[in-house]
Amino acid sequence: MNRFFQTKKFKGLIVVLFLLFSLVLYTSTAGPGAVGDMLNSIAMPLQKVFSSVTGKAQTNTATISKSKEELQAENTKLQQQVNELNQKLTNYYSAVQQNEQYKQFLGIKNEHKDYQLLSASVIERDPNSLFSSFTIDQGSVSGVTKDCPVITSAGLVGWISEVSALSSKVTTILDESSQFGVRDTANRDTGVLDSELKLADQGIVKMSYLANGTTIKKGDQIVTSGLAVESGFGGKFPRGLPIGTVSAIKNSPYDVSLYAEVRPYVNPAKVRDVMVITDFRGKAEAAKESSSQINSSSSGASR
C-alpha cells in the first residue's frame, strides 16, 4: 500500500485534486467567471441544436402517427407526398408558434412601452435543481445582464441569476431564495413573495408578512410592487408584473402574521419560450436602491 502512495499516478491525482479544489474555492467566492463562461460557451451550441432537434422530432412523430394507417395503404409516390406535406406542416407549426410568440411580444410591448424585450427559448433544464431552474439561449452578447426579469405574456417566471456570452441561467420564482415585494391589485396590500420546497412542489408560492387585519381574499391578483425588500430583488423588477392569484390565506407557523398562497400564472416547470426584460423605466434607480438596501442589510443580515 505504501508503494501505491509513492506512485506517479497517485502524486498526479493529488495535483489534479489540488487544482480542482482551487477551482472550487475560486468559483464559490468569485462566481463561475471566465472559466464558467468559456465552458458554457462550448456546451451551449450543442444544447441549442439538440433542443431544437428534439422539438421538431416530437412534432414530426405526432403528425406522422396521426395518419399512419392511411399511409400504410398509400403507394410510394403518395408516401413521398405525405412526407413532403408533413415537412411543410412542421414548418407551418413552427411558424405559427413563432407568430404567437411575436404577438405576445407585441402585446406586452404595447402595454409597457418602456420595456426592452428579448425573446428566448429554454434550452436546458438542470436535473439537480429542485425549483425548476433552466437555461435560455440568450446571453450577454444580446444584452442580458444579471437580475433581468424573465417573463411570459402571462406573468413573471423568474430572474437571470448567471450570464455567460451565449446563454443565461434563470432562477424561478419557486426558488426558496426568492424574496421580493408584491402587492394585491384589489386593495393594494403589500407583502413579500417567497417560497418553500413543499409549496413549490405543488407549484405555489407564498405572499408573507401580511398584517392580521388584511383584506386580501381568494382570487385576488398579485403583482410585483417594485419595492426592494431585503434581498434587493424587488427593486430589480418593474412595478405591476403579474404573478398569480391568491388561492388561500393561512396563519404563519412562526409568528402572528398571515400569509397568502399564490398560484402563479406561469408554471416555470413547463415553460418553453420566455421573454427577458433587459431594460425598463427606472431600472438604474431601482438597481441603486437595491444595492443600497443590500449594503445596509448586509451589516445585520441573518443569512
Binding site: 480542482l20 456546451a43 444544447q47 428534439t54 434550452i123 436546458e124 433544464r125 418553500e196
Partner: protein, 170 residues
C-alpha cells in the same frame, strides 16, 4: 493497439456528450417524482471499471465538469473533484480487487451517487438554510438517487460493449 485505444476513448467521449445532452435537454427524459436522472455519474463510474487510472480520472473530470456547468447556482469544479477521486479509486480497485460485472458496477454507482447526492443536499440545501431539509431529502434527493442508479444497467452494457468490441486484434 494505439488505434483501438483511441477509438475506444473517442466512443466514450461521444457517449459522454450524448448523455450530457440527454440529461440536460428539456422534455427528453421523463420527470419521475419531481426528478430527472444524472446520467454522467454511472457513465464515469462504469468507464473507470474498464480503463486505466489516468484515463478514468480524465473521464471523471470531464463528466464532473459537464455536471458542474449544467448546474444553476452550482460550484464549478465540485463534481469534477468528486468524480476524479471516485474514478481513480474504482479504477485502482478494479485492477486487482473487484470483479468487473454488473452487480459491482451497480454497487459502486450506488456509493458514488450516494456521496454526490448527500453532498448536494448538504451544500445546496441544508447549508443555505432552506426549510424542511428532511422533506427535501426524502421527496427529492432519494428519488433522484434511485432514478439515476437504475440507469447504471444500460450504461454499463454500453461501456462493456465498447470494451469488448474495440480491442486490439489478437
Amino acid at each position: 493497439m494505439k488505434h483501438s485505444k483511441f477509438f475506444r476513448y473517442l466512443a466514450y467521449t461521444l457517449e459522454i456528450i450524448l448523455l450530457f445532452v440527454l440529461q440536460e435537454a428539456p422534455n427528453v427524459l421523463p420527470t419521475i417524482h419531481y426528478t430527472r436522472p444524472l446520467l454522467l455519474i454511472p457513465a464515469a463510474v462504469t468507464i473507470a471499471m474498464f480503463e486505466s487510472q489516468t484515463a478514468s480520472t480524465v473521464f471523471g473530470i470531464l463528466c464532473g465538469l459537464l455536471i458542474d456547468i449544467g448546474m444553476i447556482n452550482g460550484i464549478l469544479g465540485l463534481h469534477a473533484m468528486i468524480l476524479a477521486l471516485i474514478c481513480f479509486i474504482v479504477s485502482y480497485l478494479a485492477r486487482d480487487l473487484l470483479q468487473t460485472n454488473v452487480i459491482t458496477a451497480f454497487t459502486i454507482c450506488c456509493i458514488a451517487m450516494g456521496i454526490t447526492v448527500l453532498l448536494q443536499w448538504l451544500l445546496n440545501y441544508v447549508v443555505l438554510g432552506y426549510a424542511d431539509p428532511v422533506y427535501a431529502l426524502v421527496q427529492h434527493y432519494i428519488p433522484y438517487f434511485l432514478y439515476t442508479v437504475i440507469l447504471v444497467f444500460p450504461i454499463y452494457a454500453l461501456n462493456r460493449f465498447f470494451v469488448l468490441r474495440i480491442q486490439p486484434p489478437l
